[in-house]
């Protein structure tokens, strides 16, 4: 079984596309899951953005220096693609959740998903990276290219916003 670095070398040196498909198989799950959370459960959009991430990564593969993990590098690309898309296609947030997102989710989790949609893209991104991908704050700082202290502050701030939104849901249910 090849390591990520070996697969990348095979793609670059031998133009071995099969090695790149192996990299996609290995890393698609965290990338697609991240976009799924970021897009409020819109599977089609999540897959389009994930596809764009892997294509961009393929084109820029020779610039991957190997200082960070390949997945961390992919997350950095995914971040840029998500923020570009969020800027281009801004939509007024709604409480609607796609039907397929209702599967195996508790009411609280659906509320979390709804509340996330009301956060700013940057806040949504930082929470998704910290919680969904089990990345350390240092890795998140590397992906977002911001200082470690700012990551910690922004996570707390985003959680506060999410919390107030969730409290407003709880109150409206009473």
């Amino acid at each position: 079984m090849y390591t990520d670095a070996e697969l990348i070398a095979r793609v670059l040196v031998e133009s071995d596309r099969e090695s790149y498909s192996e990299l996609i198989r290995r890393h698609q799950s965290p990338i697609r899951s991240l976009f799924h959370k970021l897009t409020g459960g819109d599977s089609a959009l999540a897959d389009d953005l994930s596809q764009e991430t892997f294509i961009t990564a393929y084109k820029a593969l020779s610039s991957f220096k190997g200082h960070a993990k390949f997945l961390t590098w992919l997350f950095a690309i995914a971040k840029n693609i998500y923020l570009q898309n969020a800027r281009k296609h801004y939509e007024v947030p709604t409480d609607e959740i796609p039907e397929d997102s209702h599967n195996s989710k508790s009411d609280t989790q659906l509320d979390v998903q709804r509340a996330l949609k009301h956060l700013e893209p940057d806040d949504r991104l930082i929470l998704s990276l910290c919680y969904a991908q089990e990345l350390t704050h240092t890795e998140v700082a590397e992906i977002l290219q911001i200082p470690l202290g700012t990551v910690k502050t922004n996570v707390l701030r985003a959680k506060e916003k999410l919390k107030s939104k969730l409290i407003s849901y709880e109150r409206s249910e009473i």
Binding site: S15, Y20, P30, K59, S62, Y131, L166, E170
Partner: protein, 121 residues
């Protein structure tokens, strides 16, 4: 602090963990979809950066040779449009004045060759 808020305070991390722990399983369809959309082979970094550079050079050569403008004016115009590069363009005439017309023609031909190789023209 209300009871609701206290409960939420205690459970938020747990709820977030539970929400985010659900991940999508790998899909072969997705892999195939990406593989079909991939370009033929990854571009080497120098080619990626050479594209805009060559495009810029072609633009300068065009304005210099085809339009009746001298090089300083051309660079001044580009510098004005691309404000961020104004410093670079301030010094560029000094540097480029050292380059002979023959060199510029050689660069132009190399650029055209590159563009043809890349199927841009």
């Amino acid at each position: 602090m209300t009871n609701d808020k206290k409960n939420l305070e205690q459970n938020l991390d747990q709820e977030l963990d539970a929400f985010f722990s659900q991940s999508l399983p790998p899909s072969e369809d997705f892999t195939q979809k990406v593989m079909i959309a991939l370009p033929q082979e990854p571009r080497l970094a120098w080619i990626t950066s050479a594209g805009p550079l060559c495009g810029g050079l072609v633009g300068i050569l065009f304005l210099y040779f085809v339009a009746p403008l001298n090089l300083s004016t051309v660079l001044y115009l580009i510098g004005s449009v691309k404000g961020r590069c104004s410093m670079a363009f301030t010094y560029a005439p000094l540097l480029i004045s050292q380059i002979s017309v023959v060199t510029l023609i050689a660069v132009g031909l190399a650029t055209l060759w590159y563009l043809a190789e890349e199927d841009f023209i």
